[in-house]
């Protein structure tokens, strides 16, 4: 493909341009706030205050961020392989099944520090298996992975409703959910972490999965940039042809990358199911799988970008809930718009401002070099 764009230094490419895209996305979101008759600036202040103004606010922000780190990593790993995994939502949903299976079986047998790794493994396996069929079909049959993963989201939704209503619901209970987990499958909270800063948490279910998410982010970095498999995944993503000529096994790489992606999505279920609700409920994912797309795009598929992006979206989720108390016209659905705008400007329109920025940058560089007659340019 032709490259009509000038080469820019890394700080412009990875810092300035994403920042400008993000700012534009939020400016447009501000226009929506104006359109419903509220003051965008006040909304922004309320949002930040709701998310970071109290111990509970921070707890909830980080609780949501935990979900988004997992789903963001899920999308990012697939991105590196040149695949677009829209199925994070479904993979996380069935991942809950893995968590619940481990918890329901062992919650009165083992303490939490045995159950957590067990549940993690189960969730990862179920999530990975849910990604396996789309991955295999993409690798072997050339079925478009975007379509198959969307279809698997819907299939997962139907499957989970059926399982919860017909099988997992305790006899006699009304709500379609499993029984509450016993103490052995309840995760310890991280209240002490917030209390170190002199703040207190009352109800926020901020728990140990946050640390697990950070470890996962580090491991994904190791995997993608420090292992042979990661190198193969990135080669596949940049140029499947080059990977083929280099003798890499295409099918294997696609399937493994997608299974890792699915496993990360599945692990997201630990946070709400084991860490907060302590039972398996309907629709516990609440769109986190889709937020992962925005998070991965914003974080440029790099763990160091994904973690702050996830925290930003955690802030939007928590702050958005707080705003609606003060501004009834704005509910948490505002976040869905912002999410869409971020995906639009940081993803689909990422090159929109690039030519303008590139020429501005060139102009500045040229101006600086003008008095310098050494001719050291280029």
């Amino acid at each position: 493909m032709a490259v009509p764009y000038a080469k820019l230094p890394a700080w412009v490419d990875y810092g300035l341009i994403p920042l400008i895209n993000l700012v534009v996305a939020f400016l447009v979101a501000g226009l929506v706030v104006l359109a419903v008759g509220e003051n965008p600036l006040r909304a922004a202040i309320l949002l930040v205050d709701g998310a970071f103004g109290s111990g509970d606010g921070i707890g909830y922000t980080l609780f949501y961020a935990t979900n988004f780190i997992f789903t963001g990593l899920c999308v990012a790993v697939a991105f590196h392989c040149g695949l677009f995994n829209i199925g994070g939502e479904g993979q996380a949903y069935v991942g809950g099944l893995g968590v619940a299976t481990a918890c329901l079986a062992f919650d009165s047998v083992f303490p939490w520090w045995i159950n957590l790794p067990l549940a993690t493994i189960c969730a990862a396996i179920v999530g990975a298996l849910w990604a396996l069929i789309p991955a295999y079909l993409q690798a072997k049959r050339g079925s478009h992975i975007v379509i198959t993963t969307i279809m698997f989201n819907f299939i997962a939704a139907s499957l989970m409703v059926w399982l919860l209503v017909d099988l997992l619901k305790p006899p006699g209970a009304m709500a379609p959910e499993t029984r509450n987990f016993a103490e052995g499958a309840q995760l310890p909270r991280l209240d002490w972490l917030i209390e170190m800063f002199g703040l207190t948490i009352r109800s926020a279910p901020f728990n140990i999965t946050f640390i697990l998410a950070l470890i996962s982010a580090y491991l994904v970095w190791v995997l993608i940039w420090r292992t042979r498999l990661g190198y193969e995944i990135r080669t596949m993503g940049h140029s499947p042809k080059a990977a083929r000529y280099a003798g890499m096994n295409e099918t294997k790489i696609i399937v493994i990358a997608m299974m890792i992606s699915g496993a990360l999505a599945g692990m997201m279920a630990l946070n709400p199911v084991m860490g907060a609700q302590e039972r398996l409920q309907l629709d516990f994912v609440t769109g986190a799988g889709f937020v992962g797309i925005a998070v991965a795009l914003m974080g440029r598929s790099h763990p160091a970008g994904i973690v702050p992006a996830a925290i930003l979206f955690g802030m939007l989720y928590q702050g958005g809930a707080e705003i609606s108390f003060e501004m009834p016209a704005i509910s948490r659905d505002m976040i869905v718009i912002i999410q869409g705008l971020v995906i639009l400007f940081a993803g689909a329109l990422e090159h929109m401002f690039r030519p303008a920025i590139a020429s501005a940058y060139m102009a500045i560089v040229a101006q600086r070099r003008e008095p310098d007659t050494q001719g050291s340019a280029t």
């Binding site: 789309p134 049959r141 478009h144 198959t148 299939i155 509910s331 705008l341």
Partner: protein, 324 residues
């Protein structure tokens, strides 16, 4: 109620449920045949349903509702075009963005403007809604045994949009396979380089295809909120855009096949609604969730190449770069 009447009623609701799918499916057909993947059918349909419901309620006219639905849907389609044709962005990413923007803004704006929990005010029948049309002599022919109910129940008594949807099928076929625009559009989806070499603008062709897609999505949305239901309810498309996408693949990007695929998926939906949990005598019960998941399962099976092979337009999903 005897079996025959039940069958007629199920088929009748099949038609009603297939119509939004059919509009959206044909919309996707225009876009994808021109080489622009469109995951955003769902979002365009949702935004159109909202705009249609809101405008019909405010102006008290179904036609104005339809006009607004089409306008909003075309605007979103142009946004998709702007991102994916002009700026060569990822078409999937752009479609996903449109879905989220539509999902969020219909709720926020609906709540801000009407304060009814994301609904638009209910439309009273009459001018503000597309009412059902009784075909001539429906009552008289309805008396005839066997054939009568088919005419009176199945063919008669739908809104004008239903008939339009089925009229759109041959129309799409004609545009696609019998006009110069259609030929060029198909060419631009298969080999844009050749079209460009012939001196025809790839960009302008793709924009026109995307606009056609927007218009049809507008009809789909308006049908949901102004004809099938009396007003917009939040998240009322509920995945129909994706089922339409599935139908499009199932139909292998052909208009007449698209109609049958949509009728099939509409039928599955109608059966799932009518018989919540079919009991196969003496064996077991088929859960309704299975019927709901069936269109998606069928699509995956088809994509896997077990029921014939679905081959998408060759240049689909790739932005066209003039200088190579």
């Amino acid at each position: 109620m005897d079996t025959y009447t039940t069958i007629i009623l199920v088929l009748d609701s099949t038609v009603r449920l297939a119509v939004p799918l059919l509009f959206a499916c044909l919309a996707g057909l225009f876009s994808e045949r021109a080489g622009v993947f469109d995951i955003g059918l769902e979002g365009k349909m949702l935004a159109a349903a909202f705009a249609g419901g809101a405008a019909a309620a405010v102006y008290g006219s179904a036609l104005i509702g339809l006009a607004f639905a089409i306008m909003i849907s075309v605007l979103l389609a142009l946004l998709h075009g702007f991102a994916s044709i002009t700026h060569r962005g990822n078409q999937i990413v752009s479609g996903v963005a449109i879905n989220f923007i539509a999902a969020g803004s219909t709720i926020i704006l609906g709540q801000a403007w009407f304060r009814q929990g994301g609904r638009t005010p209910p439309l009273s029948s009459g001018e503000s809604r597309f009412s059902s049309i009784t075909l001539p002599f429906a009552d008289e022919i309805g008396q005839v045994p066997l054939i009568g109910p088919i005419y009176a129940e199945l063919l008669s008594g739908h809104s004008i949009l239903v008939y339009l949807a089925f009229f759109a099928v041959p129309l799409t076929w004609w545009i696609l396979f019998r006009t110069r625009f259609g030929l060029r559009m198909r060419a631009v989806g298969e080999n844009p380089g050749a079209v460009d070499t012939a001196g025809i603008s790839v960009t302008w062709l793709r924009y026109r295809a995307v606009i056609c897609c927007g218009i049809l999505c507008g009809f789909a949305g308006a049908y949901l909120s102004v004809a099938q239901n009396a007003g917009f309810v939040k998240d009322m498309t509920a995945g129909k855009g994706f089922i339409a996408l599935a139908a499009l693949i199932f139909a292998k990007w052909k208009p007449v096949n698209a109609m049958f695929a949509c009728l099939l998926f509409g039928f599955l939906d109608a059966v799932a609604i009518r018989f919540a949990g079919i009991r196969i005598p003496g064996l077991f019960e088929i859960p309704p969730q299975f019927m709901q998941a069936l269109p998606y399962v069928l699509t995956v099976v088809l994509l896997a190449g077990f029921i014939g092979k679905a081959i998408p337009p060759k240049a689909g999903g790739q932005p066209y770069v003039k200088e190579r």
